[in-house]
């Protein structure tokens, strides 16, 4: 045919008018989409301010805690929770990769979730250690939840090490998906068996404990739930950005970015 490989918009097989109409439609959709996105980001920012204000001004101090240290609850617990969410998201994307079409973007989504899960788990570990220094006297004491978060961090790091050791993108995606699902299969043992091995926990009772009672001041609970929601949304927003960055990197380098 002798046509150039890339054509400018509206030139080529389809009539020019038709091209202009579809271009206008896609542009309009894109603008509407970005407007929704912008609104959501402002809402997230507002919620963030609200949670910070709530954590330091609205919620009361918990009894039996040294100084202001109980306020870390509103950031530490949501971060640990988000690390857990990232774990599940990575596992779901890995399952989708293996079972639904093996598309590169599914693999990138799993990898992005692991990167963010690593970040949030490390943040939860660091804030927890600082708080443990104040309340329990040491930075670290192998409480079962500390052990499980450390193993989650090791697992995430191992996943990324595996990705960097496989040069071929398709093989890398396949092997890392298998590893993520294996990790998800073994994870319940960390959460349910470790506390029994240790035989103790220094952590306060979970908010929703086995008896189904919520033992927390109503205001504290409101801020905690808002914080958890905030961090979960923050995770999904960052996840989206990470996926887009990875997609751009893949189109530029032909998919050779390792992780």
């Amino acid at each position: 045919m002798g046509l150039p490989a890339r054509l400018p918009h509206g030139v080529g097989a389809r009539p020019a008018v038709f091209g202009i109409i579809t271009d206008m439609a896609t542009e309009g959709l894109r603008q509407a989409h970005s407007r929704v996105g912008l609104t959501l980001r402002w809402l997230l920012w507002g919620l963030g301010c609200l949670v910070i204000w709530g954590a330091f001004r609205y919620a009361p101090l918990a009894a039996d805690f040294i100084g202001q240290s109980s306020r870390i609850l509103f950031f530490h617990v949501p971060m640990a929770w988000t690390g857990f969410v990232a774990f599940i998201v990575a596992g779901v994307w890995s399952l989708l990769y293996l079972m639904r079409g093996r598309r590169p973007e599914q693999d990138r989504a799993a990898a992005a979730a692991v990167e963010l899960g690593l970040l949030f788990s490390i943040l939860a570990t660091a804030t927890g250690a600082m708080w443990a220094r104040i309340m329990w006297g040491t930075y670290w004491n192998w409480d079962p939840r500390e052990t499980s978060v450390v193993l989650a961090v090791i697992f995430y790091a191992a996943y990324l090490a595996l990705r960097s050791a496989v040069p071929d993108p398709a093989t890398r995606a396949r092997l890392s998906a298998v590893y993520a699902i294996l990790g998800l299969a073994v994870a319940p043992f960390l959460f349910f068996v470790l506390p029994r091995i240790a035989g103790f926990t220094l952590h306060p009772e979970p908010v929703v404990n086995p008896q189904g009672k919520i033992e927390m001041n109503a205001r504290m609970l409101q801020v905690l739930l808002a914080g958890s929601f905030l961090f979960t949304m923050l995770f999904f927003w960052l996840h989206r950005i990470q996926r887009r960055i990875a997609a751009l990197g893949a189109t530029r380098t032909g998919g050779s970015k390792s992780w």
Binding site: L151, A158, L182, A185, F189, V193, I197
Partner: protein
């Protein structure tokens, strides 16, 4: 139906015999496992022997060291399971000749028998050298059998993964330890129960659950790893 099950079992048997035959030709894994375990055993024996270490410290520390010896010996010898097939070019023939599930099961049984052989040599030596007395012999045997099975199942799947990656030797430990960590902690708990003599049954059930989980996950995931 029954015919297919029997055929599958026959496949597993043939592959298992083939594993041991090729192992006995080089004795690579056997030598690695045994020599690694014996050298660490000597090092631990000199450092933590019956003289110079208190009784209470020994009952809590020695089961830990025992399982660390087994874990590291396994991670020195077992990663070769699939790397060997890829290097010698027999992997393609295996892909054609055997179903993934029969291959996976035969590799797990092979690794399990290898580990059992190691445990049969190392355990009496360890108990004698450390003068560690066992109150509940059944719990110890359960720990060795179930722990060995879990180690074999977990490391077979990881070995299949690393056979297709670069930097294989290093990668095995990195990938296997987070997966094997719950098993290791449970096996240590069960061995401690064997030493102290109470509460072994619940730990044994939990190790059994772990083994079943990893076996099922392995059977479902191995075909994905094995067939590119």
């Amino acid at each position: 139906m029954w015919q297919r099950v029997l055929n599958w079992l026959a496949d597993v048997g043939v592959l298992f015999v083939k594993e041991w035959r090729s192992e006995l030709r080089t004795r690579y894994a056997l030598n690695t496992l045994l020599l690694f375990a014996l050298t660490t055993l000597v090092a631990v024996g000199v450092a933590l022997g019956p003289l110079g270490t208190s009784e209470s410290a020994r009952t809590s520390v020695l089961p830990v060291v025992f399982w660390l010896i087994l874990l590291f010996a396994a991670s020195a010898g077992l990663p070769r399971a699939f790397v060997h097939e890829e290097e010698s070019g027999t992997a393609t023939a295996l892909r054609l000749a055997a179903t993934p599930s029969s291959l996976f099961v035969s590799k797990v049984i092979y690794s399990f028998t290898l580990l059992l052989g190691l445990e049969i040599v190392v355990t009496p030596l360890y108990l004698a050298m450390m003068e560690l007395s066992i109150e509940d012999g059944g719990a110890l045997i359960a720990a060795l059998l179930l722990g060995g099975l879990g180690l074999a199942a977990g490391s077979t799947l990881i070995a299949a993964i690393i056979a297709q990656a670069q930097g294989r030797g290093m990668l095995f430990s990195v990938l296997a330890f987070p997966i094997l960590m719950p098993l290791l902690l449970l096996a240590i708990a069960l061995t401690r129960a064997a030493v102290s003599g109470d509460g072994g049954t619940t730990w044994a059930t939990e190790i059994l659950l772990y083994d079943a989980t990893v076996m099922v996950a392995g059977l479902m995931l191995f075909p994905v790893v094995w067939n590119p």
